[in-house]
Subunit: 336 residues, 2 copies
């Protein structure tokens, strides 16, 4: 069921059928109708490969994410999908599971799938060979969540957000403020947030506590729980993301601490689920869906201009604050 078949049955030429699909208004209403009828009856779908081959535009965007287990990326992907749909692009998806090798392979698969541009979430832009490769191939790409001069990025100011949070916690009377992260080396965002913590503590003359790294093992969680049961435990825990915060909440509960009376827990990301938890999760919010949308917008604009994207094209989106029962209300220092 190719265009030829449709043309034959409609008693017209392939050119006309093509016009009916790409430029309906320039074809005679009667022939148009007849062609459309035939096409519908046959369930004809234009062959995308042939079209792409001819037009050199696949109308497909590649998306590379670390994982979908973290709702942050799922939310971002929703935004990507929505914006892409609006702009007439399809998206092909790969995940890397935070693994360098898988990342390289994933990028290669995206490339050979014929994508026109890429939304990338990498562990660390500085060490990712995917970025060089993409550059070599000459496709526009944008990094979601990362912050770096070298590439086009869409993100919030991770460092500042946490810096700011530490200030607010201090303003509200907290002195012993701790930080809990995932595996620090697995994410440049986590590193920037940690940096914000260190700087914030220093700025206020507070002693930074040793960071708790919480990979997804029960052992690490138990360690945190033990530490929370020592004398003079922290009164606030700043977590590098909401998933970590949820697990910290659990450690606190197992340690017998009341949240937020004994311990305030603050997350980062603002995943939707956080509001449904008990206690609801206080969190620094990122506009995840907007980040996704913005990435696609940048890409599509670049594609339309037939240009690449570079560091100057980066977009900073504002972070926000979602109050929650896991943290006592903070002093009124404006957020964001």
């Amino acid at each position: 069921m190719s265009i030829t078949e449709v043309a034959r049955l409609a008693g017209t030429s392939v050119a006309t059928v093509s016009r009916v699909f790409n430029n309906p208004e320039i074809v005679n209403p009667q022939t148009r109708a007849s062609v459309q009828r035939v096409a519908r009856e046959l369930g004809y779908v234009p062959n995308s490969s042939a079209r792409t081959l001819r037009t050199r535009r696949s109308q497909v965007l590649g998306v590379m994410l670390p994982t979908l287990s973290n709702p942050v990326f799922a939310e971002c992907l929703q935004g990507i999908a929505a914006e892409a749909e609006q702009r007439g692009y399809a998206i092909v998806l790969t995940t890397t599971e935070y693994d360098q090798e898988r990342e390289t392979a994933a990028a290669e698969r995206l490339l050979s799938a014929g994508v026109e541009a890429l939304v990338l979430v990498v562990s660390n832009p500085a060490t990712s060979q995917t970025l060089q490769r993409t550059r070599q191939v000459g496709l526009p790409y944008v990094l979601a969540y990362s912050q770096t001069e070298e590439h086009a990025c869409v993100s919030v100011d991770n460092r500042q957000a946490i810096y700011h949070l530490v200030e607010r916690l201090h303003d509200s009377g907290h002195q012993r403020i701790g930080m809990v992260t995932g595996q620090l080396h697995a994410s440049d965002r986590a590193q920037q947030r940690y940096k914000g913590y260190l700087q914030g503590m220093q700025a206020r003359g507070l002693t930074a506590l040793p960071v708790w790294e919480l990979p997804f093992t029960t052992q690490a969680l138990e360690q945190l729980q033990q530490d929370l049961m020592q004398a003079d435990p922290p009164t606030a825990l700043v977590c590098s993301n909401d998933l970590i915060a949820i697990r910290s909440l659990r450690a606190a509960a197992l340690a017998g601490l009341r949240v937020p009376q004994d311990l305030c827990v603050v997350g980062f990301d603002g995943i939707a689920l956080g509001s449904d938890l008990t206690p609801s999760l206080a969190s620094i919010t990122q506009p995840n869906e907007a980040i996704g949308r913005q990435c696609v917008a940048l890409l599509c604009d670049a594609l339309a201009r037939n240009a690449l994207l570079c560091g100057n094209d980066s977009v900073h989106l504002p972070y926000g604050w979602r109050a929650g029962e896991s943290c006592t209300p903070l002093s009124s220092t404006a957020f964001s």
Copy 2:
């Protein structure tokens, strides 16, 4: 940078270059090496459209999900992505947000993206026009999570799982067992689970309580909370999915009920996050990732046989039980 260019620079014909990429062993090691070198230097990537046009195999699978906000589908997608990757397929993704119109449009976009086969999660197979359309076009497809004779499905036995759960709750002493669902009409699974609840209650001579439908509004949640504060509230809540269970947990907390002493809450799906909550979420588990993998496996096999899939190809995977603090240990009736 087409195959022609590579051929020119390598001083050979396009046919040979093609062979180097598709059948390396049949070409002279020296020419092969030279071609590979040139290709690498140029960053040459075979044009997928041209290849697809010629071979009539796009190596792309279409995936249509309701949303990624529910981790169940994110987990399933992980499985789909993993299996597809293993088998050399790319996946293009669309979401429908449980909306009929968007579903139709999404399917059309998948089709025109040139996918070879489809993994579909629809609200209700009986009313989905996507399925007819897909049939008309003649592509293999499989429904994830649904159960119906009419189509190839990969799912657990939803009705039986809940039926079984009700029995176990009753065995453990519960009499007033309630059911909380999302919007019942939005999902045939939810309906089947509800049916299991009704049948289970009847089989044990218990009175089914009016179902609580919990769309994502705070109002509905408050209703549940109010009802839990009446005299003789249920002692157990069977929830049609884990997200609903989490919100039910919140309603219980707001109502001042202790979980699990006053009220047991059981979810459905077994999302990973459930284990990290406090109380951890007891749940009937589905092998979400395996469901995704199985879908892709069926599809790829069908593609290899050049066949379509039908009701007879359906696969039932076993459900399981994940104990959690949200429910007191159940009597030993074997689960699953």
